[in-house]
């Protein structure tokens, strides 16, 4: 018996808007039904605000008003384009931490992101109507959640004739975790309407793509699980939109999950406690900065007579104003009460936990009142709430 191929697959890459602002008109026409000039102007304005928030978050961290923050800088176009393919409140999003702009686009109040990184759980108190899961810190752990959410959406879609999808965001590093493979496999075998969006920024902290995987692309991993894989230039609003819309259409139509790889560049350090100059060359960094999606989108709009220096100045001022307000909102929120740590552990707080809350209040732990010598220790030494 001769051998014969039992599997053939390929992944193609989509690029529409190049770094100098020139565009593939034919491909662009395919998405102009949504990305007309007005929409691109609106997208650029959103990017300016997101960039300003990112820079402001960095300053908050440096001035000691915020903890570690993972910057989104340079990765605005892909997630925004992805979010533009979703219907807010109808579809569900399972985020990681480097796509703030997608969450803002879908209605998450911006100050909640700051609150989260300021070490306040209320940042995760997301209006359920938005259909946004909390930011996931554990790399890849949320991808099986997307499969589970997608499963439920499929049940609803089948029953009610709806077409809801779930979109999950993650980085290139996340594809190495077992949970990534579980997420894809479960979504695929369950025909769940899930779109997996990998933002490949070339690095997982200090580990470059080529040490993360020997696959040429992350998109091709989809093929092994029996779903289509797409790749696009993630700094290109048009290309990102095109592949995400193709993937979302595929899932909405009931054909199961799809994977999208958006190649991009993390302009900033991994987080505010990282120093990328230890592992990243200056040349590479300069190349990355040159591919900044903001510059590219602006050039495009300028070429079409939709943007100019005055507008730029005016819109940057607007972004500064908005972000100032967002920061003020986040900073004005009072620290949660100390007793807050006991409030959400269970739906009904068990008696033992109530006892612990009480011992927290009085300052010692484990004292049975009958054994306690509290009376013999000066009362004013008790730690007050």
């Amino acid at each position: 018996m001769p051998t014969h191929d039992v599997f053939n697959g390929s992944v193609s890459r989509v690029e529409i808007l190049s770094a100098d602002g020139s565009i593939d008109e034919q491909l662009a026409d395919e998405v102009r039904d949504v990305l007309d000039d007005e929409a691109v102007v609106a997208a650029y304005r959103e990017m300016l605000v997101a960039r300003e928030l990112d820079d402001a978050a960095y300053r908050l961290q440096r001035s000691g008003r915020m903890g570690t923050f993972p910057q989104n800088k340079g990765q605005e176009a892909g997630p925004l384009a992805a979010a533009m393919t979703l219907i807010a409140g109808h579809d569900h999003v399972v985020p990681s931490y480097r796509e703030n702009i997608a969450l803002f686009h879908l209605g998450l109040p911006m100050h909640q992101i700051l609150l989260h990184w300021m070490g306040d759980e209320r940042g995760n108190d997301i209006d359920p109507k938005l259909g946004i899961s909390p930011i996931c810190i554990s790399i890849g752990a949320h991808l099986p959640h997307a499969a589970g959410i997608g499963w439920k959406l499929k049940i609803d879609n089948d029953k009610h004739g709806t077409d809801r999808v779930c979109m999950a965001f993650f980085g290139d590093g996340a594809t190495s975790e077992g949970a990534f493979h579980d997420g894809l496999n479960f979504a695929a075998t369950g025909d769940a309407p899930v779109v997996f969006v990998c933002q490949n920024n070339g690095w997982a902290i200090s580990v470059p793509t080529e040490k993360q995987t020997r696959s040429q692309t992350f998109a091709q991993k989809a093929l092994a699980y029996g779903m289509p894989g797409f790749q696009a230039d993630g700094n290109d609003l048009f290309a990102s939109f095109k592949v995400c819309r193709d993937a979302v259409r595929h899932a909405r139509a009931g054909n199961g999950p799809a994977l999208v790889e958006l190649t991009t560049y993390r302009i900033a350090d991994h987080t505010t406690v990282d120093d990328a100059s230890r592992y990243r060359s200056k040349e590479e960094h300069e190349r990355g900065v040159a591919s900044d999606p903001l510059i590219r989108t602006r050039r495009y709009l300028e070429a079409r007579g939709q943007w100019n220096d005055d507008l730029e100045k005016q819109e940057k001022e607007r972004a500064t104003r908005i972000v100032k307000e967002v920061i003020a909102t986040a900073m004005e929120i009072e620290k949660p009460g100390k007793s807050d740590i006991f409030d959400y552990a269970f739906a009904t707080t068990p008696r033992e936990l109530e006892r612990q809350r009480e011992t927290r209040r009085t300052g010692s732990l484990g004292q049975s009142p009958r054994q306690s010598t509290l009376s013999r220790v000066e009362a004013d030494e008790a730690v007050t709430v």
């Binding site: 570690t68 810190i137 997982a204 990282d274 033992e352 936990l353 612990q356 732990l365 010598t373 220790v377």
Partner: protein, 324 residues
């Protein structure tokens, strides 16, 4: 003798063990070129090469499972898990594979690995970067668990852990990483796993603690009125546990307070209280007290100090116990 902080003393121990024994191998996320997110393995890849200090793909299950395989093949693997919260994805390999290895193989195929893991709160880190899960691993038969709180002890303990023929979880209290320096001998020495250290001697009560809580206990003990003197024991080895040192001290003082960051229920404080009760019942002058974290998820950092036992809370328990 160099003055080193905890990070540098652990780095020195790793360097010396890599030099001493060719079968020692380091692996983990960012441990190579970047020297780890805490810069703890800084310089080691440069000195020993990528074959011995390797950046791995981002997968704790992969890191731990591969380390088990290396150990099966006769290497001494030293995997790093970046933060204790990420032991989660590695749990199966550590608990269900590494820990059972010797028993299952009747000693034939063993598992000499040393899992290094930063642990604990107090550094304003994001979620899953501040937990204290040590009791989970102490409760796992087949694992040794240590937590060094001071640079000198850390160096000796890590050397012992790496040379140990069984799997050891080596927790590093990240709050202490750069908080102080002490003299650390650069010659080769080991500290026995299973040996607690008495940091301060005293007559009226015994404090048993480990990790970053050691320093809060010392602070609380210092603030006691002159007529109360506390003995402070840094447990250091959480399993095997140094029952003798605890019993000797508590039999003499008659009073004990156990302090840890981890949640209260089934925390090590429960085990130590039970051991004291078993061994020292007739010497006890007061009920054993526990000052611990609470049975809640470690809060995001705005409230972490309301969760962590501080010197005030510890001090109050000490005074109450002494007055009993």
């Amino acid at each position: 003798m160099p003055q080193l902080n905890l990070v540098d003393s652990i780095n020195l121990a790793l360097r010396q063990e890599l030099t001493r024994d060719e079968s020692v191998i380091l692996l983990g996320e960012d441990v190579g070129l970047n020297g780890g997110v805490f810069r703890l393995t800084d310089g080691l890849q440069k000195e020993f090469g990528e074959a011995r200090v390797r950046d791995t793909p981002l997968s704790e299950g992969g890191i731990m499972g591969t380390a088990v395989g290396l150990a099966h093949a006769g290497m001494k693997a030293v995997p790093e898990i970046q933060f204790e919260g990420f032991l989660g994805p590695a749990y199966d390999q550590l608990v269900n594979q590494a820990a059972r290895c010797r028993t299952r193989n009747r000693g034939g195929m063993t598992c000499p690995l040393t899992v290094r893991v930063p642990v604990g709160g107090g550094i304003h880190a994001p979620e899953l970067h501040s937990d204290s899960p040590e009791a989970v691993y102490v409760h796992t038969p087949g694992l040794k668990v240590v937590m060094a709180s001071r640079p000198k002890a850390a160096k000796g303990l890590l050397a012992s852990a790496i040379r140990d023929p069984d799997p050891v979880v080596f927790f590093e209290p990240k709050r202490v990483y750069r908080s102080f320096k002490e003299d650390v001998p650069d010659d080769d020495y080991t500290i026995e796993i299973g040996q607690a250290e008495v940091l301060e001697t005293g007559d009226d009560l015994t404090i048993i603690t480990w990790g970053a809580s050691v320093f809060r206990c010392l602070e609380a003990a210092d603030a006691l009125p002159d007529h109360i003197s506390a003995e402070v024991i840094d447990l250091q080895s959480l399993w095997p546990i140094d029952v003798e040192t605890i019993v000797k001290s508590v039999s003499r003082t008659g009073r004990a307070v156990v302090v840890h960051e981890a949640p209260k229920t089934c925390g090590l404080g429960a085990e130590i209280s039970a051991l004291i009760q078993e061994h020292c019942f007739l010497n006890l002058e007061a009920p054993v007290q526990r000052v611990t974290g609470f049975d809640v998820t470690m809060p995001y950092y705005k409230l972490e100090n309301d969760y962590l036992p501080d010197a005030a809370r510890i001090g109050k328990a000490l005074r109450e116990t002494a007055a009993y």
